[in-house]
């Protein structure tokens, strides 16, 4: 639409003589108008309203639906690489409770810093580590996401009601050095989107 408005007059001046007398300022003038239109649109008031609405929607989504995060640390490698940007879906557990194998974001005092771990045991279950392998209620848990095996040993531990046992995927470090354990349901903020 706007392109046709300033190309067509130039095409009409097709003959060599008329080309010589083509008024240059008139051809250049629409360029600034085009830039202006791209930047602020035909109706600045409407554009402003759109910008305000978009900013409000983005802020709402970032606060209440998809919380933007940046992964720091190696605890969840190789599933989540350090430095990657991700989003925590806060609505992931609105209609159902967290499941085994779900990676989850766990809040500390607030949500500006969170732990990213994986749920391996659910409320009421008994968890045990035997030479790096996880046993839930005495049955071996298949963990395809663990690429770096370990030799952890941990005696059977029963998970209380409303609690979830979480651990990172990277288990190359010593059991005591890897931050893991039971988290309350209320501490689970959501599930990473990617």
């Amino acid at each position: 639409m706007t392109i046709a408005g300033w190309i067509l007059p130039a095409l009409e001046l097709g003959s060599p003589c008329s080309y010589d007398i083509m008024p240059v300022p008139e051809v250049q003038r629409p360029a600034s108008g085009w830039v202006k239109r791209v930047l602020i649109g035909r109706d600045p008031k409407r554009t402003l309203a759109r910008v305000v609405i978009w900013v409000a929607v983005c802020l709402f989504v970032a606060k209440f639906v998809l919380l933007p995060i940046r992964v720091q640390g190696i605890s969840m490698m190789p599933t989540y690489q350090e430095g990657r940007v991700n989003f925590v879906n806060r609505l992931a557990y609105v209609f159902h409770e967290p499941k085994r194998g779900d990676p989850v974001a766990i809040k500390l005092a607030g949500e500006h810093v969170m732990y990213l771990k994986r749920i391996i045991a659910l409320p009421g279950e008994t968890l045990e580590f035997r030479r790096g392998r996880v046993f839930i209620n005495g049955k071996l848990l298949n963990e395809a996401y663990v690429r770096y095996p370990c030799a952890w040993d941990h005696p059977p531990e029963t998970i209380g009601p409303g609690e979830y046992y979480v651990v990172g995927d990277n288990r190359t470090m010593d059991f005591t050095e890897h931050y893991q354990g039971k988290a309350w349901r209320s501490q689970i903020v959501g599930k990473p989107l990617l």
Binding site: Q72, I106, A109, H112, V113, Y115, H178, Y179, A183
Partner: protein, 166 residues
């Protein structure tokens, strides 16, 4: 219609500005405690290349945020377990850590303050974040502190680390 919208926007802006000014000029106990905690974080941070006198001054300033009978319990699995009793022990520890000359940036974030009904004591719950230059991953720790109002000043008399995962 446009006039009404403009008036409403102006009124909202004035109310927000007024509220901000009021809170800035007359801060409540919660806000004072938050300010104290951010001052503690700023004092605990260091660039690492400070001289002996500024180091000593920082340690001295740090002690002014605590009561003489302060009790601090630090328990970070796989890293450190320590009990600090009294301001003298805290001063010694702070001086020793300063003497290592390592730069550190301390932040206290997500602070929530609960005032006691008598408004003479308060509990603060927060996340501590320590960043060392050259290290990509900061150390984070959930913390709890109990503060007491002594001679008009909010001082920490008890602080402890909280195990986020048990």
């Amino acid at each position: 219609m446009t006039k009404w919208i403009l008036r409403l926007a102006l009124l909202t802006a004035l109310a927000t500005g007024g509220l901000w000014a009021w809170r800035h000029l007359f801060p409540g106990p919660e806000q004072i405690i938050r300010q104290r905690l951010s001052q503690i974080a700023a004092t605990a941070s260091t660039s690492g290349d400070e001289g002996i006198i500024p180091k000593a001054a920082r340690v001295q300033k740090l002690t002014t945020f605590f009561t003489p009978d302060v009790q601090i319990t630090i328990e970070v699995p796989g890293l450190i377990t320590q009990e600090i009793s009294g301001i003298d022990e805290l001063t010694q520890l702070a001086a020793a850590s300063r003497s290592m000359g390592q730069a550190i940036r301390v932040e206290l974030i997500d602070v929530s303050v609960t005032l006691a009904p008598d408004k003479l004591s308060a509990d603060a719950h927060m996340t501590g974040k320590a960043t060392w230059p050259g290290e990509r991953t900061p150390q984070v720790q959930e913390l709890k502190a109990h503060l007491r109002k002594v001679d008009g000043q909010w001082l920490i008399d008890r602080a402890e680390t909280v195990r986020t995962l048990r």
